[in-house]
């Protein structure tokens, strides 16, 4: 109801800023030529990757990244296929736009296939990291003062031990403990309401540590692992697959976002508009999602853009070490890794994927930096 009133044309008074927030942001952003270039490259890359997915997948792809032509190996870029090649094996474009590799596969088709991997790894990994970061940071910032009580600990211990037993293949006892854990939490809730101050049960409501401390100590613990090393360990131990890599990169890079969101929430919850919303009886969930997250999202977006760049680099590094997406699926990292053995005979196998990774990562970094500058209120006021 309040919003409906706000939307009425009565707001057309001199108080309305001359340009909307979005317009001001766009004007500032466009002034920075490098980051504008970054955005353009990013859009181009996006469409290339989608086209790559469409054109290289299926049983009879338009560009076949897996077709082996042994007589055509290590042809330089822009060379035409030999006459002797069977008509099926001739590449679609009539020439090898980016050359061929040591098995005579078309590097152009492989690059197209790899673009999609880079794009999805970047976005899914950062998506996971941002989700976890907002969730933990939000809980820590908003509900941080609430304490974990002893009954929570009992429930958590039961559930964790149950899951541990399940992982250790002790099905019955594991499931049993999980059920007991679930029931105990309901039971404690009810009990707390009825007789909170009765005798010995006080032990159960002892305040141990605050939720904020708990989450922030967990962040500290996660920061103790050298991240590339941890990713390497987990990727090497789990079966090789693109999804595992995305999830692991995501689950090892949420700590920065958590700290950002927590700090933003801590300052936002003291502000007048949140107090006003409380006074109006708006529910906590609505305050968090409608009022606080939109105000806290700007720095998260910036760090997410730069996070995509580093996730792409990490995936390329893993592929380079031979732990990435399993062959024959092409990624930019493993094209480069295979090509390094021919670096003097066929330098294009190293340079094409290397430069492609460089350009994409650079565009994300420049774009992120431009976002940061355009969102910086001090810069906005000055112009």
């Amino acid at each position: 109801m309040i919003e409906m009133e706000m939307d009425k044309p009565s707001m057309e008074s001199p108080l309305v800023p001359r340009e909307s927030r979005w317009h001001g942001f766009w004007r500032l952003f466009r002034r920075n030529k490098l980051s504008f270039l970054g955005l353009v490259i990013f859009i181009l890359f996006f469409f290339t990757a989608v086209a790559g997915l469409v054109l290289t997948s299926g049983s009879n792809p338009f560009f076949d990244p897996a077709m082996v032509r042994l007589e055509e190996k290590l042809r330089p870029p822009l060379s035409a296929p030999r006459e002797s090649l069977s008509s099926q094996a001739v590449p679609r474009l009539g020439l090898y736009l980016l050359g061929t590799d040591e098995l005579g596969r078309d590097v152009f088709a492989r690059m197209m296939q790899g673009a999609w991997v880079s794009l999805t790894v970047g976005f899914v990994a950062v998506g996971i990291a941002v989700l976890v970061g907002i969730l933990l940071g939000g809980v820590s910032g908003y509900y941080g003062q609430n304490a974990v009580t002893a009954d929570h600990l009992i429930t958590a211990a039961l559930i964790i031990i149950g899951m541990g037993l399940l992982a250790a293949k002790a099905m019955t006892s594991g499931v049993l403990l999980l059920i007991i854990g679930g029931l105990s939490s309901i039971f404690f809730q009810g009990w707390k309401k009825r007789r909170a101050d009765a005798g010995w049960t006080k032990i159960l409501w002892i305040r141990t540590i605050s939720i904020d401390t708990l989450i922030m100590r967990f962040v500290d613990i996660m920061l103790c692992f050298p991240s590339f090393f941890l990713i390497l360990t987990v990727v090497a131990l789990l079966p090789a697959s693109i999804y595992n890599i995305m999830i692991i990169i995501g689950l090892t890079s949420w700590m920065g976002t958590t700290r950002f969101v927590r700090a933003e929430f801590l300052s936002l919850r003291e502000q007048d508009f949140v107090t006003a919303a409380h006074a109006l009886g708006v529910s906590s969930g609505r305050i968090i999602f409608r009022h606080m997250i939109p105000n806290a999202i700007a720095p998260v977006l910036v760090s997410a853009t730069i996070g995509i760049a580093s996730a792409i680099l990490t995936e390329a590094g893993l592929s380079f070490l031979g732990l990435g997406v399993p062959p024959p699926h092409a990624t930019w990292g493993n094209i480069l890794s295979d090509g390094k053995n021919y670096i003097f005979d066929a330098p294009w196998l190293t340079f094409i994927p290397g430069i492609a990774i460089l350009i994409v990562v650079l565009s994300f970094n420049l774009f992120g930096e431009g976002l940061r500058d355009a969102m910086n209120p001090r810069l906005r006021e000055r112009s």
């Binding site: 490098l34 613990i221 103790c224 692992f225 090393f229 480069l336 670096i343 190293t350 650079l362």
Partner: protein, 319 residues
């Protein structure tokens, strides 16, 4: 001060305990077992596997394995599963190799980043500043392994010096100065590569700190008094801009172990990162866990040192 040290010490030990538990669980709950690494090897009969499991307590429940492992680690008795050599000795050997890379890389980073950043702050918006800004984005974005190959090609073609490994193999008896040159050439490229990212990031940070300080009132006052420009920059501005960097000294410690995996593998440098990588592939858990533990200790010591340094240099901070 003392109470801060005590409190933070206790906190760090608790953190370390959880790190050790998590890393242990991550490694042991992953599918596959080290005793089954090579089922095709004819030497791996079921009896062998059984003996192997017994010897390294793999037949025990996890929490007992955890106890055994960390007891052995603290008494220095952990042995590698592959060659039965003491892990701490192996780590120490590799550490000596990594240390040189780390030292030269760090010195390069800190000596180059400051002049670059300060100059770009003084000539803000000029061609130098814009050039350096773009160059640092370029260096942050380039994949390390790709950059390594470009540099290898350049150096090998231009100077005809070998760069792979720690020293040229089979040189025999040569005078010490040639040995020194040879080692320096081998050291130069990997440490430079390790430093590039650091130089790019740190010089950006120096630049923004300098800009922040140059806008302060006391800098304007100094200018108004007629202090020469040089003195304004280096005496009034720089000294105050340096404050946050003192604390960063603590945070470079973890670089000793992480981040060097790819560079060390490309250059066949027998350092800690490469040992960890090989150990992960071979499922040699004691080495992986030991290195992880050392890395966590380094991170914690690093944050501790930076907290203490912050207190020392900035009297306003009371922790």
């Amino acid at each position: 001060m003392l109470s801060f040290i005590a409190r933070s010490g206790v906190q760090k030990i608790i953190t370390l305990f959880f790190v050790s538990v998590i890393s242990f669980l991550v490694i042991h709950l992953a599918p596959g077992e080290p005793s089954q690494v090579n089922p095709l090897n004819p030497k791996f009969t079921p009896e062998m596997v059984e003996r192997f499991r017994k010897q390294f307590h793999l037949d025990q429940p996890l929490h007992i394995q955890y106890g055994y492992f960390y007891r052995d680690l603290f008494t220095g008795k952990t042995v590698s599963w592959k060659d039965h050599e003491p892990v701490l000795k192996k780590v120490w050997d590799r550490f000596k190799n990594s240390f040189w890379l780390f030292l030269v890389g760090t010195v390069l980073t800190w000596t180059l980043a400051f002049p670059i950043g300060i100059r770009s702050a003084i000539f803000r918006g000029g061609p130098y500043d814009r050039g350096v800004t773009f160059l640092s984005y370029f260096l942050i974005s380039i994949p390390g392994f790709f950059f390594a190959y470009i540099l290898i090609i350049l150096v090998v073609n231009a100077f005809h010096v070998p760069v792979i490994g720690m020293e040229t193999f089979g040189l025999g008896r040569i005078p010490w100065y040639r040995d020194l040159m040879d080692r320096t050439w081998h050291l130069l490229l990997p440490s430079l590569l390790g430093a590039t990212g650091g130089i790019a990031v740190l010089s950006r940070y120096v630049r923004s700190q300098m800009l922040e300080v140059e806008n302060q009132d006391y800098v304007r006052t100094a200018r108004a008094k007629g202090v020469p420009e040089e003195q304004v920059h280096y005496k009034h501005a720089l000294r105050n801009a340096l404050l946050p960097f003192v604390t960063m000294f603590g945070l470079i410690l973890p670089g000793l172990i992480g981040g060097s995996v790819i560079i060390e593998s490309i250059f066949s440098w027998p350092g800690m990162g490469r040992m960890a990588y090989e150990a992960i592939l071979a499922r040699d858990y004691p080495i992986v866990l030991t290195e992880n533990f050392i890395a966590a200790v380094l991170v914690l010591i690093g944050t501790f040192v930076s907290d203490v340094l912050y207190m020392v240099v900035d009297p306003r901070i009371r922790l």
